[in-house]
Symmetry: C2
């Protein structure tokens, strides 16, 4: 009965297991495990035998078994807003490459900037028992998901989100993160615009409520203006996914004392603004200068080339993986990694006429 049942199973077109290999090699399946894990506790001859049997049977270890037993998955969860945005896509690429080099696989989820989706996605990843998480959240200072991860002691690293050394209300919020210094970078870009001779510079930004980065970049804008003794203008807040900016641009550029330069909180916005400004009959840069933030490749293909802050996207991903693996490894978190940005000066920003 039992043996018949077993035979039927063995005959079935199922994958060979460690037991099959053991039987075929004439050893116990514990030995097979030892060989496969290269513990070095096995006699070379035996090892050879096992390997040969494994090859012959087309054995492929079943990680579900291993993972369950060892309660580690060698999997990193990655949760990003969207891959439509090349900055995230490229960062994911470098995360994946770095993870692969460290023998880890990637479980991916996107959230479309939706806090509800962040909750669902993180939960799904945790059910899979990922060893750690790399993620970008809408607002890292107020994120239920991050609170949860902290409470449960799940290792994670933020990318692009930038946590100051202490949170609000004097509570030091030490959330591991990898980013550029958003405020400084914005400040430098705006200073560049000022050095070109611009006085009325307006910032066009993603909604501050939806992006902590936008807020930091706006701070940098304000600081640059103040340092130069200029009056910061009210920012124009755009939903992150708005693609047509003509109405807003017309409002902004329609009157006499219009801004002569527009500092955009992302290249996406900057490119849309350049296109729409032109459609409205404004030349870039002679009627209005435009600068962006991100450093997406295509900015260089535009004419005029887009002046922008270049984030080291690939570095950010790679660094995040390194940091996360350290945290998983139990090492101590030493503080945010601020990577170097650069200014890429194109001709989309020039001296005002």
């Amino acid at each position: 009965m039992t043996s018949a049942h077993k035979a039927a199973q063995t005959n079935a077109n199922r994958r060979a297991t460690i037991k099959d290999v053991a039987e075929s090699a004439g050893v116990s399946f514990a030995t097979v495990s030892r060989v496969l894990n290269e513990t070095g506790l096995v006699k070379p001859a035996t090892s050879e035998l096992v390997l040969e049997a494994a090859r012959a049977l087309g054995f492929r270890p079943n990680l579900m078994g291993r993972n369950l037993r060892s309660s580690r998955t060698q999997t990193l969860g990655v949760m990003l807003p969207t891959l439509i945005h090349p900055v995230f896509a490229e960062c994911l690429q470098s995360i994946e490459t770095a993870a692969r080099l460290s023998q880890h696989t990637i479980a991916l989820s996107t959230t479309d900037y939706d806090p509800l989706a962040e909750e669902t996605a993180s939960e799904a990843l945790l059910r899979q028992r990922v060893d750690g998480l790399i993620l970008t959240v809408a607002d890292a200072a107020a994120s239920p998901v991050l609170d949860k991860l902290d409470a449960e002691g799940v290792p994670y690293v933020l990318v692009f989100n930038q946590m100051s050394r202490q949170g609000k209300k004097k509570q030091p919020l030490r959330r591991p993160c990898v980013s550029v210094d958003n405020q400084l970078a914005a400040q430098q870009m705006v200073a560049h615009l000022i050095s070109l001779g611009h006085h009325r510079i307006c910032m066009i930004a993603g909604r501050f409520g939806q992006s902590d980065r936008s807020r930091l970049r706006f701070n940098g804008y304000k600081q640059a203006m103040q340092v130069a003794g200029l009056e910061p203008l009210a920012p124009l807040e755009l939903p992150f996914n708005q693609t047509d900016t003509r109405r807003e641009l017309l409002d902004l550029l329609g009157n006499r004392s219009r801004p002569t330069a527009l500092f955009c909180s992302s290249d996406q916005i900057a490119m849309a603004v350049m296109r729409d400004a032109r459609l409205l009959g404004f030349d870039v840069p002679s009627d209005v200068s435009v600068a962006g933030f991100d450093g997406v490749r295509v900015g260089q293909l535009l004419s005029p080339e887009l002046s922008t802050v270049v984030q080291p996207t690939a570095d950010i991903g790679r660094t995040a993986v390194d940091l996360l693996l350290q945290l998983i490894n139990g090492e101590q978190y030493l503080g945010p990694a601020l990577l170097h940005h650069t200014l890429r000066i194109g001709s989309s920003a020039a001296s005002p006429q």
Copy 2:
């Protein structure tokens, strides 16, 4: 002894399991499993009790256990050449979204167009026991990885790769795939160039050995030329990752009987060509027309806007997920899904002077 050990375990800061929930709710853990899986075989009152206990304990099902037991992971493996290329990134985005809607998660791997990496990555995915694979390979007609998947009966769907209904040597090669009709699309774009008045049209393509798509698109080019009674020119083959095309362009455009239009096998190439042509002093489109293939968004932001074939990237991803889930479900494969492309006519291609 045993109880002490158990207590120690219970006290440890480990996650609650189904057993903990059972104990806390005063039922057997089989009942908990039934409740969690909504089998509907449980008395509502009991169910309530269990759910309450689960909530109180912060229970989160461990999918490793479930997966091992049921030998299904609810995970789809995705293997793509690179996410730097927006076409793949956007397709991945739509794959992820579709998978999420169907309660599946994504395991991601990239290969950088390297057949060796394809082998390694697919093996890693199979060790994880993904339920199926969505992938783009360098050459779908000659792919050891696909041969392996076929041999082992692992469900998969190709994206962007386009399999003709029969393979070489009369062996029908029925590999599930979702793509546009590359040849037809290329033919139509070249026909468009011809209709503008171009006679000497040169194709600039990724290396044919590295891309079955390039080959198909070149076929379309040839066909369009022949239909119009024109002589196809020798194509210019570029490594897929070459970014500077000036040397080649100078060769191509340097002589009297130079082509008046360049049909590029991807937008990446087309955009580089536009930039480099301009750097070399050729105006686009008055000196030379340029057309691309892919339909990346940024093509519309260029000036002149890039004329291109638009692939329905998101549709391709969504369709691939649908198809893969069907195959996993044991349904029969009914043939390649050819999705509709469109021509996006910009001003990068115009009538020759």
